[in-house]
């Protein structure tokens, strides 16, 4: 197995709001291996974007703050780096693209200038070298007539083109890790597919690890090598993609997969997980999914389930799979047996 590139260890990122503290990322641990595409899945507000922003150390502070844990990048703890060292990594070794291609580019600078910026800043290229490289990058992300695009302003391009430009900016310094925060959510379906193709293509060419944040299981199925499922600030399940789709363990993951329409399997009604995402303020020590879970047990309401491996590379945080949980409640039902 490839070497670990990034490791989150018990990361805690909290936001102070007028209503109370929101533990947006609550004791999150997982790793990303070199050249791997890892998808973080979850509903909006589950902390997946905050996890990525914590890695970039771009959490807006106040109100946000990383209050505990470590983020190791090639063995170094990023949280201990000076601001200067961190900004040397950003855009260079770790690059990021965002959900909103329409607003993610600065409206007053030309495309060329914006792609060239990290080249000049991190790699110390001359303007001439940078321009040549920018043209190369624009071609690489599949936009024709790069010279013309070089002098264009963002508003002259379509959303899909702008996302390609964002990818070009992100790839400009050959990053080891590319974070993509819902890169296709704001785009039309056909453009989505093109962008995903482009990212897969780039990954195979440049062997860049990708941390892809999404709520779209279709994207996961298409892109991921490994999947991390988050719910209310916690990782509740992680597994290689095939394993997860074949054998989801956590009731929430099962619900997510059931909620996805499957072609050729027409159902009366699409499944939806009952209830709502819990209020993120002052969540207690319990399984945050307990009030929506059809297998909820007494212990789920009072104790946080640990994230533990139950199969090779497949970890779940659910009392259904714990001895303690089984002891507490005999009536586990079909799910429990399915996992064994």
């Amino acid at each position: 197995m490839a070497k670990e590139l990034v490791e989150f260890r018990n990361l805690e990122t909290h936001f102070k709001t007028s209503a109370g503290t929101v533990k947006a990322v609550n004791d999150v641990s997982f790793s990303i291996r070199e050249g791997e595409t890892l998808c973080v899945v979850g509903e909006s507000g589950c902390g997946k974007s905050v996890t990525a922003m914590s890695l970039m150390q771009l959490i807006e502070s106040p109100p946000g703050k990383i209050v505990g844990g470590q983020i190791l990048f090639e063995g170094k703890d990023l949280l201990k780096l000076s601001k200067k060292d961190m900004s040397r990594l950003r855009g260079n070794d770790i690059a990021m693209i965002f959900q909103e291609p329409m607003s993610s580019l600065n409206p007053v600078f030309t495309i060329g200038k914006q792609i060239a910026e990290p080249l000049l800043h991190h790699l110390g290229m001359t303007h001439k070298e940078a321009k040549a490289r920018v043209i190369e990058l624009i071609t690489m992300v599949g936009i024709p007539r790069p010279e013309k695009i070089y002098d264009s302003y963002p508003h002259e391009l379509s959303g899909g083109m702008r996302q390609r430009i964002m990818i070009a900016i992100a790839l400009s310094c050959n990053p080891k890790l590319l974070i993509a925060d819902e890169p296709t959510t704001a785009l039309d379906v056909t453009i989505q597919a093109q962008i995903l193709d482009l990212m897969r293509d780039i990954k195979s060419k440049m062997n860049t690890a990708i941390m892809m944040i999404t709520h779209d299981l279709g994207v996961v199925a298409e892109m991921a090598d490994f999947v991390v499922v988050m719910y209310a600030g916690k990782v509740i399940e992680e597994a290689p993609v095939l394993e997860l789709f074949k054998n989801p363990q956590h009731p929430y993951t099962q619900g997510l997969l059931k909620a996805k329409p499957i072609i050729n399997q027409r159902q009366e009604r699409l499944y939806s997980i009952p209830g709502q995402v819990p209020n993120p303020v002052n969540l207690g020590d319990n399984c945050h999914f307990h009030d929506r879970c059809e297998f909820c047990m007494e212990i789920c309401k009072v104790k946080t389930p640990p994230l533990r491996a139950h199969a090779d590379g497949h970890k779940t945080a659910c009392w259904l799979y714990e001895e303690e949980g089984k002891r507490n409640e005999r009536n586990v039902g079909s799910v429990g047996t399915a996992a064994e």
Binding site: M56, L58, P62, K84, S87, R88, L89, R90, G91, N92, A95, M96, F98, E100, S103, S104, L105, N106, P107, V108, F109, E117, P118, H121, H122, Y153, H155, M166, I169
Partner: protein
């Protein structure tokens, strides 16, 4: 582009006609005229009537309006009774004195406001930001003449740091470098007061603009590129915050050439504003009307310029 400007200029015409009517009607409401206001004891009634005939003051108001309006179209604002020369020449003589202090004030207040506004926004909720916010409110609430008087009392009279008013030292017929130094010395106090008065709202404008821009997605992109904070703020954010501010630059036009009436009087600065105030006491209609119309044209032109500037500065609406 030129088509756009022409259309806008044409749109100004009805507005200007409306303004000219209002201004003329108001001036007609003033009882008495220049002849009675000049209070010359030697003037006989016949002589006064003669003069009224010369100045056209004996004609019906509507006729006077059309004569005035027709002349105005040819750029002839009439002759000032008091100064015995064309109004355009009076304006041209004094407007530059006004322009000098207004221009220096403009530069100073923009530079200060931009810096303070940017830092205040960057460190929102910090102690510095809170002090700035409160100061801005104080500055926006200053009665101009009162602050002018206070400044003269403490800095000119009590501490004797600056001259109390005027533009040059009386009796000192300096020229060249010495003249410039003398005028500059007289400018310090009025310029400081005028800057103080205008910097508050500008700072607030820049701060608000920056706060809005800082939250934009492209600022996050700039940070994600690993640029240092200074580049992010001054290159990426400031350029965008400056865009709406540029429209303000057009609105400064009347202030640049219109003279700060109250402060020019307080500081006895020989600018057009002070001359205008005096013209009211003298019932010098041509000057009163002419200057008011001059201000109105400046205001309308300023609006047009600000629109054009915005188009030039913002690539999104740059007119081809």
């Amino acid at each position: 582009m030129s088509q756009y400007i022409i259309r806008r200029l044409l749109q100004m015409i009805p507005t200007l006609i409306g303004i000219s009517i209002i201004v003329f009607v108001i001036s007609q409401m003033v009882p008495g005229d220049y002849i009675t206001a000049s209070q010359n004891p030697n003037m006989t009634a016949e002589r006064a009537d003669q003069l009224r005939a010369i100045y056209g003051l004996d004609k019906p108001a509507i006729q006077q309006y059309f004569i005035w309006a027709k002349n105005m179209l040819t750029g002839n604002l009439g002759d000032s009774f008091q100064h015995k020369m064309p109004v355009t020449k009076v304006i041209n003589t004094y407007v530059w004195n006004s322009f000098v202090i207004a221009f220096v004030t403009l530069i100073l207040s923009w530079v200060i406001a931009a810096f303070v506004g940017v830092f205040s926004a960057q460190f929102q909720y910090s102690f510095f930001d809170k002090v700035v916010t409160l100061l801005v409110f104080l500055l926006m609430s200053l009665p101009s003449f009162f602050i002018g008087l206070l400044a003269i009392k403490y800095f000119a009279l009590d501490l004797k740091l600056f001259p109390t008013g005027g533009m040059t030292t009386a009796g000192l017929n300096a020229s060249g470098w010495a003249y410039i130094k003398d005028v500059a010395g007289h400018m310090i106090l009025p310029v400081t007061v005028m800057t103080t008065l205008s910097v508050g709202s500008l700072t607030r404008y820049f701060r608000t603009g920056m706060l809005e821009v800082i939250r934009q997605d492209y600022i996050r992109t700039a940070r994600a590129k690993g640029l240092n904070e200074r580049t992010v703020i001054f290159k990426h954010a400031f350029r965008n915050a400056l865009l709406p501010a540029i429209t303000l630059l057009g609105f400064e036009l009347p202030a640049l050439f219109g003279g700060a009436m109250i402060l020019e009087r307080v500081f006895t600065w020989p600018g057009i504003g002070q001359i205008y105030l005096a013209s009211i006491n003298m019932r010098d209609y041509p000057l009163m009307l002419g200057f008011t119309m001059f201000l109105a044209v400046l205001t309308l032109l300023g609006n047009l310029i600000s629109d054009i500037l915005y188009g030039v500065a913002d690539p999104r609406i740059r007119l081809k």
